[in-house]
C-alpha cells in the first residue's frame, strides 16, 4: 500500500493498494468512493479490508478522502458545492490511471459515495463500470434520517444543548455542512438511467423493489441490517465481511467480462508505481508525501 497526497495543491489523501497474483494488471483498477460525514469513519476499516481483498484478485485499488473529510485538507464546512466532491473523484480517477497505467477504472461507492460515483460515471469516459453498495437512492429521506438521529442525540443529552443551525451552516452528527451543499444533496438523487456503464448494486433485500434490473444492471440482495439510521450504532464500526467477499467475487467477474468484451484495453503505459509483474516500477510517479494546509 502506498499512501500519498494528490490533486490540486496535494489536498487529497490517497492510498494505493497494489494488485497481487497472476491476474494483476493495470487494467484492473478500482477507485473507492467512501461515504461522507460520520459514515466515512464507521466504514473506514471495512473499506480498507475490502481493498486488501480486491488486491488478492489482481485488482489495484485507490482509496481516497474527499476534501474536508478525513486526512484531506480543509474542513467539511468549506465544501460549498457537490461538484467539488465530484471533481475530487475525477481527480482520483486521473491519479489512478496515471499511477497504474489503466485507461479506465471501476468506481465502487458506498452510501452517499455511491451517489457521487454514479454522478461521476455519467460524466466521465474513464469509468468502465460501477459497484454501488447501499447507495443513497432518496437524498431527501437520507438527510431526513441523518437529521432525525442528530435530533435524537441532542434530545437525549444529559443537559440542554444546541448545535449550530443558522442561515449558512448546519451541524449534523458531528460535521458542519454548508446550507448550499445540503440543498444540492437534497436535489441530487441516484439516476441510474443516465449511466451507460454496467452497474452492480448491492443492497438490502427489502430495498430490491427500488431498482429495475436489466442486462446492464445486476442486483445482489443482502440480509445486512440497516444500521445507518440507528442512534445506538452511531459510533459502531461498520463491517460487512460476507457481503465484502461477495463484492470481491463480483468485481473480479465484472473485470473478466469487461476484458471479454474488450472494454478495458488497450491500456496506456503511463508512469507507474505498482509492483505488478506486468509493469515496470518507476518511483518518479510518486506524488509528494507532504503538502501545505491552510
Amino acid at each position: 500500500m502506498t499512501p500519498f497526497f494528490f490533486g490540486s495543491k496535494q489536498q487529497l489523501l490517497g492510498m494505493l493498494h497494489h494488485a497481487r497474483g497472476r491476474k494483476a494488471g493495470a487494467h484492473r483498477t478500482v477507485v473507492i468512493c467512501p461515504p461522507i460525514g460520520h459514515e466515512y469513519i464507521r466504514s473506514h476499516w471495512c473499506l480498507r479490508l475490502l481493498a486488501r481483498q480486491l488486491t488478492r484478485k489482481g485488482i489495484n485499488v485507490l482509496r481516497f478522502d474527499y476534501r474536508g473529510i478525513g486526512d484531506s485538507a480543509g474542513t467539511n464546512q468549506q465544501t460549498t458545492a457537490l461538484d467539488q466532491w465530484h471533481q475530487d473523484v475525477h481527480t482520483a480517477i486521473d491519479c489512478a490511471c496515471t499511477k497504474t497505467g489503466c485507461r479506465n477504472v471501476m468506481l465502487l461507492g458506498l452510501r452517499y459515495g455511491g451517489t457521487i460515483a454514479s454522478a461521476v460515471a455519467s460524466q466521465s469516459d474513464k469509468v468502465s463500470s460501477l459497484v454501488l453498495w447501499e447507495p443513497v437512492i432518496d437524498p431527501v429521506q437520507y438527510l431526513r434520517s441523518l437529521r432525525a438521529i442528530h435530533k435524537q442525540m441532542i434530545d437525549l443529552w444529559a443537559c440542554r444543548i444546541k448545535t449550530l443551525k443558522d442561515e449558512t451552516h448546519e451541524e449534523i452528527l458531528g460535521s458542519i455542512y454548508n446550507r448550499g451543499l445540503l440543498a444540492e444533496i437534497e436535489n441530487t438523487g441516484l439516476d441510474l438511467d443516465s449511466i451507460d456503464q454496467p452497474q452492480f448494486i448491492v443492497d438490502s433485500y427489502d430495498r430490491r423493489g427500488r431498482y429495475t434490473t436489466n442486462e446492464m444492471q445486476r442486483f445482489m440482495p443482502t440480509d445486512d441490517e440497516d444500521s445507518w439510521s440507528v442512534l445506538k450504532m452511531l459510533e459502531t464500526g461498520w463491517l460487512r465481511a460476507s457481503t465484502s467477499r461477495q463484492i470481491v467475487l463480483m468485481a473480479d467477474e465484472m473485470f473478466r467480462r469487461l476484458e471479454q468484451f474488450e472494454q478495458l484495453g488497450p491500456y496506456s503505459v503511463g508512469p507507474l508505481d505498482s509492483p505488478s509483474p506486468m509493469m515496470p516500477v518507476s518511483t518518479d510517479a510518486f506524488a509528494p508525501a507532504s503538502r501545505a494546509v491552510n
Binding site: M1, P3, F4, F5, L13, M15, H38, I41, H44, W45, R48, G70, D71, A73, Q152, M153, I154, D155, L156, W157, A158, C159, R160, I161, T163, L164, E171, L173, G174, S175, I176, D223, D224, E225, S227, V230, L231, K232, M233, L234, E235, T236, G237, W238, L239, R240, A241, S242, A289, S290, R291, A292, V293
Partner: protein, 290 residues
Amino acid sequence: MQESIIQFGPQNGLLGILTTPNESVMVAGAPIAVIINAGIVHRIGPFGLHVNLARQLASAGYRTLRLDLSGLGDSLPRTEKLGGDNRAALDVSDALEHLTTHFGADRFVMLGLCSGAFNAHHIALNDSRIVGAVFIDGIVFRTMGYFWRHTVGRLFTPRFYRNAIKRRRILKPKPYGREDAGVELLESEFFFADDIGKDKIADDLKAMLKRDVSMLFIYTDGYDDVCGRKQFREMYGIPPSDQLQVEYFEKSEHTFRVVENRNVACKRIVDWYRERYSAASCEAFEEATV
C-alpha cells in the same frame, strides 16, 4: 502549516501524519505531540478530533504526529512474535525513534482518548522521552463521591427520568447481525486489564510527577465511570496542581460528537501546551541541556 505522511516500524508498515507549523510560528525545541488511536477509530480520531487538534496545535507552533497503531487504520499488524509485550508501546517507540532520527526531536507529549489514554499512561510511565501527557477519559475508578454525585444525584434531576423514558422508547434493543456483535466486542473495554488498581495508578502518577512529566487529565460527562472534577482526588489522593491539571467537561460526550464541545477540548489542550511549552521555556530547556 504542512502535513506529511510518515511510514516507519517493521517493513515501514506503520503510518502516521505529521503536522508541522509554518516556520514563522514554530516553537523551536518544543516537544512533538503524539496522538494515538482511540479504540478502533483510525488516526483522524472520533469525529475528526485528532485532525482538529493537530491543526490547532500547528497553528500555535507545535508539531503533532497522528499515528495508527499496528493493525489499526492503515497500519499493518506486527507479525513478529513478541510474547506479552505491549504492542502499542512498541509502535510508539518506533514512532519516537523515527521522529528522533529524521526530525531531531528528543522530547514528546503523549495524547490519547479512552483506550488511547490507557496506552498513553503506560508509555508515558516507562519512556523517559515523554515529558508530558494528555489523558482524555482515561483510567478511572468509581468512588463514594461518584456514587453520591452520579448515582444518587441524578435521581433529583427531572431530565434523568425524561431521558430514561425516551431511551427506553427510542433505543429499545433490536436483534442485529453477528458482525455488529463482533464489532461491539472489539469496542468493549476488555483492553483495560483487571489487575490495575487505584493504588498502582496513584504510584504511577507519583513516579511521573517525580520525573517532572506535565499532565492534563480531561474527563467528560459522557464517560460512564466519572462524575465531577473532584473524583480525581478521590481516586488517587493527589490534588490537582500546575503540573497535574484536571478538567471536567460536563456538557461533553465521551467522543466529542458536538463540534462546539470538540473545539472547547482542543482549545483547552492547546492552551495547556502553550503554557507548559512556551518559546521561552523551550529556549531555557535547550540552553540547560547544552
